[in-house]
């Protein structure tokens, strides 16, 4: 196949960027999207030009490193598929493809198609865990977990932290990402003691990072390569509201009312 690409090039976060046209004359339908970019890059290097920078690592759709806006769609046209697992058979000869980085204030561009997603790490650090230090755990079978709960928790835990939900959201909200972790731990007995702290902490951090709020567009679940549903956002809201009430009661009790 012969394709025309328009790729976002931006030397660094401090400089401005633009779309640059490249021809990809010899693309096999069995190539992955990133392999197609590899071939373009080999050509650029041989011509003495700077290759296109993009994040990628496992190329199996699980590490969450890769993520490109392809013709305006996060991770491209194939539903439930990360960029690295998108194959060129999803395109046809003669197509023009626009390739851009995730666009969100909380994900500043580092270079070309590479963005800084460290805000996600800080949201996790604000409560996305169970406080259990190594060595203090009871036997693995001490607390039974109903299979439906464990299965549902796994659905949420499947999030790969790629950021497509943010990129797809008109508000650049990180609600789907945050709710997936809150929901995963909310369903398990191990997550109960810190359930409220977690919801409050993670939401507060999400706002502090400059992500927008959720206004229920649903673009996030369409873009999610792991099929994570917006139902999780409802679960997050439920914990957030309960936590807000509990917190008010606790601070009232502390104040001696």
């Amino acid at each position: 196949m012969k394709l025309t690409l328009f790729v976002w090039r931006q030397p660094s976060g401090a400089s401005s960027g633009q779309l640059v046209r490249y021809e990809a004359p010899d693309v096999s339908p069995d190539m992955s999207f990133l392999e197609m970019l590899d071939v373009v890059n080999e050509g650029l290097v041989l011509r003495g030009e700077a290759p296109i920078a993009f994040d990628h690592d496992c190329r199996e759709g699980i590490c969450g490193s890769c993520g490109l806006m392809i013709n305006g769609i996060a991770h491209g046209p194939m539903k439930g598929t990360a960029t690295c697992q998108l194959h060129m058979r999803s395109f046809k000869d003669g197509d023009t493809i626009y390739v851009e980085p995730w666009r969100a204030r909380a994900f500043p561009v580092v270079k070309d198609l590479v963005v800084d997603r460290s805000a996600f790490d800080r949201i996790m650090a604000a409560g996305g865990f169970v406080s259990v230090s190594t060595g203090s755990a009871p036997d693995g079978n001490a607390i039974p977990v109903p299979k439906p709960d464990a299965d549902l928790a796994m659905d949420a835990a499947a999030c790969i932290g790629c950021g497509a939900c943010v990129a797809a959201c008109p508000n650049a909200s990180a609600m789907l990402f945050t709710s997936a972790k809150v929901g995963h731990l909310q369903l398990l007995p191990q997550g109960q003691p810190e359930r409220h702290r977690r919801a409050l902490g993670m939401e507060a951090q999400m706002e502090a990072e400059g992500f927008g709020g959720c206004t229920w567009h649903g673009e996030c679940q369409e873009a999610c390569p792991k099929g994570i549903s917006i139902d999780w956002i409802t679960r997050l809201h439920r914990d957030f509201i309960a936590a807000t009430v509990t917190q008010r009661e606790e601070s009232a009790a502390d104040a001696g009312f």
Partner: protein
């Protein structure tokens, strides 16, 4: 160099407990006075960094990815072994120990393996408490599945994403420590050298991958948890960024490299489709629980699989290894696949493939059950190949997957450089010449959660560690070397890309140091690799500058190291004149093509000591003794 494994005295089952009691402790209030650098944030590094942070040490953890959650442990699919015996099917610590020693073809250290089996049960407890959503039965208790090389069900799993869930558990523990201020996380940072002061590891030199800044970090101990070197083959199931640089540069600073030739070729990967191929994708070994492996009985049979009647199919694993069948260990399954393809019975466009067929399983338990067990793997297969494995058998072929070799460590996980500890796949210690499925996650977490937190305290408490900072001349010298190498790479301006060298090296390694090795091929590589390396340093083209995000430069540094390391692997493979586990020397096989070990001459660990550029490394041997599992010929028939 003297190799002292420091294996504690006493019966194997008591060594670890006794050692834990005998080791020195660091008083809780003193722990914050010690600083530790952890390189790598996968299961081993992430677990170590989180646990050392919890204990109160001052930890700095580096990873080259943009977040610690991306480390390649995340891609492990099938499961993690533990000797819980929840299934009441005869499992025990002793049996896991026995299976692992035997599975490793008697080339691992008994004491280490026993400890691994012991702490395996604590790992599961810890992960469950973190909220890892393991698969469960309807009664709410943990489910298990079977894996290769074992006749019990001891593998815990979270769908086909066990590595992901264990790593996220570990990452969450790590982020908790970041929030607590005990761990400083430095993502997009690559270690480019190890710094020794008075012969002791006291820090690292790093490159900030965004700004290009070369910087030093000083500490009281350095932990490498940087994974394996499978990408020396270019095509492997490893992530694109996985590399040998950290361990190889430590080797050049004096850490012995153990058994570099031991490579695991995984039997169930998606076959190569073209020259542009950038990596290979694993299909979990767990698929062999229900999938049946076969090829046509007749060479050159090009009919579609459904047109080949039952009587004309050869279920060769079931035929050759009736007691383990499709669940025989990885090295054996891979070689058997190579054999049938060499006979011209391979399937698919390239003839380099065998069928993994689920028709019987779907007939037995229904498509829904199969979907529940392997749904995500089937989807991944379909996405890559455009074939529906519920209808057409999968095509699979072996691919490089894991490396059992690594930096030599003693029982305390310390290398031959005092203060430099090595964890997880980066060390050589527990899997011998072949790793059993679902044991890599177990080892990474064992080292990180349970072994190093105990042994590092002993090292710190019993070693005089004068105050050292990055102003020390050793740091300045290492920074200057790193900067000079970087500038040299950028100044060559040749006519070949880094990837073209990497692909050529990979092809040499796969053909002559892959599934089957012989003296002629290895000697050819020992001649050809230095020539390729010389060409690299004259003709590679690395564009851009050293003061920016420069992915070509990152790759170039890694490939430069692979070009040296590949030679070390071939040297080790040539020297080991026997077949054992994943190391198959064509000259050493039985009449029916099975590996023939030579315990008289090779029942040892080969540890190589660097001697400087253009000088052959020196081989040291650590003899292996088997007091509990008696040396025998491995049989899965």
């Amino acid at each position: 160099m003297k190799l002292d494994a420091k294996i504690p005295d006493g019966p194997v089952a008591e060594k670890w407990d006794r050692h834990k009691f005998e080791m020195k402790l660091v008083n809780p209030a003193n722990k914050r006075k010690y600083s530790v650098i952890v390189v790598g944030s996968g299961l081993a590094g992430g677990a170590a960094a989180a646990t050392l942070g919890e204990l109160g040490y001052r930890v700095t953890c580096l990873c080259f990815q943009d977040s610690p959650r991306r480390a390649h442990s995340i891609a492990a699919q099938g499961g993690i072994n533990a000797a819980k015996n929840y299934q009441n099917d005869g499992d025990s610590i002793w049996r896991l120990f026995y299976d692992t020693v035997k599975g490793g073809d008697f080339r691992a250290r008994e004491a280490n393996v026993y400890r691994l089996a012991q702490v395996s049960v604590n790992i599961i407890d810890q992960c469950v408490a973190q909220g890892v959503p393991f698969a469960r039965e309807y009664g709410g208790l943990l489910a298990n599945r079977s894996f290769g090389g074992a006749q019990v069900s001891r593998t815990f799993y979270a769908r086909g994403q066990t590595g992901q869930q264990l790593l996220l558990g570990c990452y969450q523990a790590l982020e908790r420590q970041v929030a607590a201020g005990t761990v400083t996380m430095r993502p997009r940072t690559e270690m480019l050298d190890l710094v020794l002061v008075d012969g002791v590891a006291r820090g690292v030199v790093t490159r900030d991958l965004v700004t290009g800044k070369i910087e030093s970090l000083a500490a009281d101990a350095v932990l490498l948890a940087t994974g394996g070197y499978g990408n020396v083959f270019y095509l492997s199931t490893n992530a694109k960024g996985s590399n040998v640089t950290a361990t190889y540069r430590a080797y050049k600073r004096g850490a012995a490299f153990g058994n570099p030739c031991y490579t695991q070729i995984h039997p169930t990967c998606i076959p190569v489709s073209g020259d542009y191929q950038s990596k290979l994708t694993l299909m979990s070994e767990s698929l062999r629980n229900d999938g049946r492996v076969w090829v046509p009985k007749t060479a050159g049979d090009r009919r579609a699989p459904h047109e080949i009647p039952e009587a004309e199919r050869d279920y060769y694993l079931e035929r050759k290894y009736p007691s383990y069948g499709n669940l025989c260990p990885r090295d054996i399954a891979s070689r058997a696949a190579k054999e049938v393809c060499d006979e011209g019975r391979g399937v698919g466009p390239s003839g380099l493939g065998v069928y993994l067929d689920f028709a019987d399983a779907i007939g037995r338990v229904g498509e829904q059950q199969v979907r529940e067990r392997y749904g995500n793997l089937f989807e991944m297969y379909q996405r890559i190949t455009d074939e529906n494995p519920y209808r057409v058998p999968m095509r699979i072929f072996p691919a490089v997957h894991y490396t059992m070799g690594g930096l030599w460590v003693d029982y305390n996980l310390m290398s031959t450089i005092p203060g430099l500890h090595v964890l997880g796949e980066a060390n050589f210690s527990d899997h011998g010449a072949n790793r059993l499925g679902a044991s890599a996650l177990m080892q990474g977490l064992a080292d990180g959660y349970f072994v190093i937190p105990a042994t590092i305290g002993h090292y710190l408490a019993s070693t005089p560690l004068p105050k050292v900072d990055t102003g020390h001349p050793a740091f300045r010298a290492a920074e200057a070397e790193v900067t000079a190498t970087t500038r040299r790479l950028l100044s060559i301006g040749g006519r070949r890309t880094v990837d073209s060298f990497h692909r050529e090296l990979g092809k040499l390694m796969w053909e002559n140091c892959g599934m089957a090795r012989d003296a002629a091929g290895l000697k050819g590589n020992l001649q050809r690799i230095p020539e390729l390396r010389a060409e690299f340093w004259e003709n590679v083209n690395v564009p851009g500058s050293d003061a920016e995000l420069n992915q070509a430069l990152e790759k170039a540094g890694r490939v430069a190291d692979f070009l040296e390391f590949g030679e070390l692997m071939c040297r080790d493979a040539l020297e080991r004149e026997e077949s054992c586990g994943g190391h198959f020397r064509v000259e050493h096989q039985t009449e029916d093509g099975e590996a023939r070990r030579d315990d008289e001459r090779f029942c040892h660990v080969s540890a190589w000591e660097y001697q400087g550029p253009d000088r052959a490394p020196v081989l040291h041997r650590e003899p292996l003794t088997f007091e509990n599992v008696h040396l025998s010929t491995r049989s899965y028939k």
